[in-house]
Structure formats: structure tokens, C-alpha cells
Symmetry: C2
Subunit: 122 residues, 2 copies
């Protein structure tokens, strides 16, 4: 049911936890299951994401997509990372079961919310 | 939102994984979110549960309830463990958010399915 990459990122998630004094922070909720996702970002002087971390109680699909999006986003220009879509992340994971696509919204939406928060603070 | 016990069992889940050659095995699915839970049991000569393990891709609430039910069930008589309800587990965790109650069904239902599987095999 789940691709090898999804299982790998779920059993071995990258970049979990909290960034203290982040440059931006975004929290979004999944109305279907009530799960919540927070993403924290650090931005360097070149407008690149130097660190991205996530924290969630969500399911395996939510964990795998957030883990993957942090890997995709670190080192990227902030304005480029803002345009990572849920489909980009699902593709990078070799797909997700259809019933789990709503879970994968959390990662992309929380990253966008964190970048918006960073822009507001600037 | 989540009790300290839920956070503890989620961040530090007990008895995760697979039992090879289990005496019983039960898998159930959550139709709301599509998550799946499997529980494995070992039964000793006194009809007591000597080992219980769980495996899931489900959310934090599913992980916390399964972790808790394995702790409650190990050492119990099989026929007694069969009557552990989702409410027993939620109470033991000092409650769950209402939207997460459907997630907590997985643990109790999978344990019952594993015990039924054990009874059939006997
Ligand atoms: S949302 Fe699927 S088990 Fe909780």
C-alpha cells in the first residue's frame, strides 16, 4: 500500500522537533482527522532556508510528507520553497494512497504558513 | 489538547513491532482516515498474554492508545483482555480529544481480532 520511500520516511523521519527562535513558524490543522502540523524555519542572509523542522501528532502519511518536505526545502530559496505543492511531495515519495492525500496537505500548507509568517516578521 | 500520558505514549511508544509466529494476530482499519492497525499476541500455558505488540501507520492518538493497551494487556488473562474497551484505554490515558475517539477504536478492535484469531487457531 505504501511506497518504500513513505515507509522509510515514516520509520526514520528527518528533521523532527522544534526550532527555538525560528525566523518563521506555521501551524495548520486537518479538519478530517483533527491532526495538527507545525513547521519551523530558519532563513540565512541569502534568503535560503538553512533549517526546517516539523512537529505533529499526525499519521504515518503526515509524518512521511513532512519529513520529505523538510529535505526538499532545506537549502532552497524561500520564494522557491513557497511553491512546493502537495503533489511535488507526493511525487517525491513515489505516491500516496488516495485516502491519504488529505494528510499530505498538512506539510505543504504548514511550510507556506511558516514562510508567510517569516515575511510578515521581516 | 493531549494529556501528558498521551504525549508520553506517543513520543515513547511501548511494544511496537511484529511478533514472529504469534499465537494470534488481528488487523483492523479505520474507515475515516484509512489507517490500519495490527496487533500480535503470545499466550502462555496459563492462558495469559505473555507478549503483545502493535504495528501501525496511524496518527498519534492511534499510537498512544495501542501503546497503552499493550501495557494493560500483558500479563492479563486472554478472556479478560478480550473485554478491554476503547473507553478503558481512553480513561487510562486521561482522555482523548473527541475528534480522536475513532482513532482509539483501532487498538481495542485489533486486540479483540487477535484474540479471536488465537481462539480459532486453538
Ligand atoms: S487519523 Fe487515522 S488513526 Fe487517527
Amino acid at each position: 500500500q505504501y511506497s518504500d520511500k513513505v515507509v522509510d520516511h515514516y520509520t526514520n523521519p528527518r528533521n523532527t522537533g522544534v526550532i527555538k527562535n525560528p525566523d518563521g513558524e506555521g501551524t495548520v490543522g486537518n479538519p478530517v482527522c483533527g491532526d495538527i502540523m507545525t513547521i519551523y524555519i530558519k532563513v540565512d542572509d541569502d534568503n535560503k532556508l538553512s533549517d526546517v523542522k516539523f512537529s505533529t501528532f499526525g499519521c504515518g502519511a503526515a509524518i512521511a510528507t513532512s519529513s520529505m518536505i523538510t529535505e526538499m526545502a532545506i537549502g532552497m530559496d524561500v520564494d522557491e520553497a513557497y511553491h512546493i505543492t502537495r503533489n511535488d511531495v507526493a511525487d517525491e515519495l513515489d505516491g500516496l494512497p488516495p485516502i491519504k492525500l488529505h494528510c499530505s496537505n498538512l506539510a505543504a500548507d504548514a511550510l507556506q504558513a511558516a514562510i508567510e509568517n517569516y515575511r510578515e516578521k521581516k
